[in-house]
Subunit: 459 residues, 2 copies
């Protein structure tokens, strides 16, 4: 039985993308501009310089340059762990008995354990280029913190990571990996910042949140000389860097003479989803193809499926610029029983706009269903997925099962963003049967919506 | 600055080996035959059938078939995670300032985290083919147990893993990964076997050892209907399966028009080392090339560098056949402060014979030096290595530094067997400065040698 399509397709170094793709250049309508939190007017690029590295601030604001050269040093770094394979899920297809063809782009085969390294190395590179002498960031599940620690260690840039306290306590080994790469790890909220002190004074026992850790990291950056803040998701610049996932995927599929009918990604802040779908969304925007594009988010933190499309702060401390996005309110705290990442209250403004304009779909899935898919997948494909990635697996399996019912041989592409080696506590809970689902009530969500910022003339 | 050699070379599926290479077929002198522990006479293949799957027992005894076809199903499984990349360590070379060219074959990019899956899937396949209904094994650091759990889950073969108790307690997440793949994990020594009961009665607080866990797994196999025992190292069959590492490496180097002057592997029981060096050792045996081949073992468990070349049991309970190998004595217990694997008292009989006959060198390194190399490597190459693998890194770095002194541009190939994600406790100890070295005294070793089995007419 000849198999024309290999199990794993790796591009050669020559085939690797030399430019990132900026999806905004092809959007018919742009995402709403971010607002300066002081003036409530659209922020200028200069206003971002105190917080962001200049080159990254420029990328953040650039909605017209379609392709942006990847600096050669970053290309060289990419070559240490990329190209990532495009994998044909032969065993998963067989186990499901589906006529669908399932492909996944696997970004977990690097020590950071996820796709986050794609943007981390770019951000560290530009920071070094500008002559910055340290960086700050936050991390929740720990993938971004690990990736940035690796990148900063490579460029010998001191890094302070504010790690959401509940994660800091539950994942001591994540912390150790980051420390191996010389990062300083501070559980958030902490007494090292004013905003941390304030949040602790309100609730000394809080487990923290991403939004809160962002506030602390930003404060530390703006109060430290020659230091800036970097973020691993949500931002336009991050989606730009992560476009390498989609560009490689599309090229690999072209080599296989394939094109996806459905593209599926997990969605927290949007870094992986935005990167994976970028060139396929381009085709859709330009009328060249019409793949279905599906965001899969956790039912416990359902920003796209149940959030408001409104201006909101990117952090809990309300110090960042405001972005128009699907949001649950910047002080939304996902249930403590929610395992893994995808806990952010908002969603990438680019993806929010595309979703709002009908270019993509979104579904929310419960975590026991996600872990069911994770374990099933692991047994067929021998990769233990990160809980975040398993949201996309759940979506792909469900679409493949629909194909089984209808007999359609659709081509499904999903993003497998990372591995779950640091998430065994959550796997244990699933295997022991102690994992439960949590879905916020409408009343829960309403409280967050009521606290959305009031902006005269806008909302 | 053009780089002819890519950072990572992946063979295509077409280029992947379709046969394993059996090094014994080219050895001028064979390893001494294994002995039946009852008769102290050379064991027949039939005598192995109660313990081993028949096909594997035949492979164990086959010293003449040079190439053995890899069954198509195993080839297909290999394609899920192989070929593994041959990586040019550009950054490591630069950081060391060495003229040496350093290559490493990276086997850690699969969920088992190491090269162990190469033999695990083969052993599970042959067990399934024979109609066996369950398997037993032991695991120390956990890489073999994880790999076999994955392989058995794939073939829906129930598996019982006796996990060295100290490891069971120190690495709860390793256990969880194996449980995710449906394996039953029992801390060893346990009350589930007679040998376990006996060892516990002598020392109820023992942390266990690989040799002891082997005894339990063998007892469980021979007392359970339609069940057999499988082992992840030491055996000839394991080196056969692991030859895929060396075959792929050699082919990749040929594509790059390279040949190693030095081949370096870490050595515990010999599974990785034997696989990596196989085709290069063939060249050496046939007089086609003369690479230096270096085994790197821990100073705390120095079987090659300080052991006796003698017949010994493969397990602590003295129930297995006897093999002639470099050994520290079958009841040797490595210091509890020794982190990671490479704790076995003996060494592959094939490698022992080659070492004894002068075809390879061996060095022993202290664990703080190993972790120093591990952290240095991680920062340059962005891969967090397993402590076991870091022994080979240490060896490669030291050879590269010698090249720096002499100005020689030697080509070094080493095996990076796996990742250290489940070894963060050990990394913490190193980073905290609490890791210490342990080197057994001559008196310590002498005790083990005195207890080597007495075999009339032989030793």
């Amino acid at each position: 039985m000849p198999k024309k399509v290999p199990h794993r397709l790796y591009l050669t170094e020559d085939q690797m993308p030399k430019q990132w793709y900026n999806l905004r250049a092809d959007m018919k309508e742009q995402p709403a501009p971010i607002l300066n939190p002081g003036t409530l007017q659209p922020a200028t690029v200069e206003e971002l310089y105190p917080v962001f590295c200049e080159k990254l601030a420029q990328q953040e604001m650039d909605s017209t340059t379609r392709y942006i050269d990847i600096p050669e040093e970053i290309q060289d770094f990419y070559k240490m762990y990329r190209p990532s394979p495009l994998i044909r899920a032969y065993n998963l297809e067989k186990a499901l008995g589906t006529p669908a063809k399932i492909y996944y782009k696997f970004e977990g085969n690097n020590t950071s354990g996820s796709h986050k390294l794609n943007s981390a190395i770019a951000q560290a590179y530009y920071a070094k280029e500008q002559g910055l002498t340290s960086l700050t960031t936050e991390t929740g599940a720990g993938q971004w913190g690990t990736a940035l620690s690796e990148a900063c260690s490579y460029y010998k840039l001191p890094l302070t990571v504010y790690m959401v306290k509940v994660s800091y306590e539950q994942k001591p080994f994540r912390k150790s990996v980051m420390q191996t790469f010389d990062a300083e790890i501070i559980p958030s909220p902490s007494n090292t910042t004013k905003v941390g002190q304030m949040i602790l004074s309100q609730d000394p026992n809080t487990g923290g949140s991403l939004g809160c850790a962002i506030s602390e990291a930003v404060e530390k950056a703006v109060t430290t000389e020659n230091c800036r803040y970097v973020l691993g998701s949500v931002l336009n610049q991050v989606l730009l860097h992560q476009s390498i996932i989609g560009l490689e995927s599309k090229m690999a599929m072209e080599i296989l003479d394939e094109y996806p009918d459905i593209v599926i990604g997990c969605a927290g802040g949007g870094s992986n989803l935005g990167g994976l779908i970028a060139p396929f969304m381009q085709d859709k925007l330009l009328g060249k193809a019409n793949p279905r594009i599906i965001a899969v988010e956790p039912a416990s933190c359902p920003s796209l499926t149940r959030g408001r499309y409104a201006y909101d702060f990117c952090d809990t401390g309300r110090v960042t610029p405001l972005a128009k996005m699907y949001t649950l309110g910047c002080d939304f705290m996902p249930s403590a029983n929610h395992a893994g990442g995808l806990r952010y209250h908002g969603m990438s403004p680019i993806l929010s706009k595309l979703y709002h304009d009908g270019y993509m779909e979104a579904i929310a899935v419960e975590q026991t269903k996600v872990f069911e898919a994770a374990v099933f997948f692991a047994k067929q494909e021998t990769i233990l997925p990160a809980p975040e990635s398993a949201h996309a697996i759940r979506g792909a399996i469900d679409e493949a099962l629909k194909c089984k019912e209808t007999g359609e041989a659709k081509t499904i592409l999903f993003g497998l963003t990372g591995t779950g080696y640091f998430d065994m506590t959550a796997y244990n809970a699933y295997l022991n049967g102690t994992m439960t689902d949590y879905i916020p009530t409408d009343e829960d969500l309403q409280k967050g919506f009521e606290r959305l910022p009031k902006i005269p003339g806008i909302q």
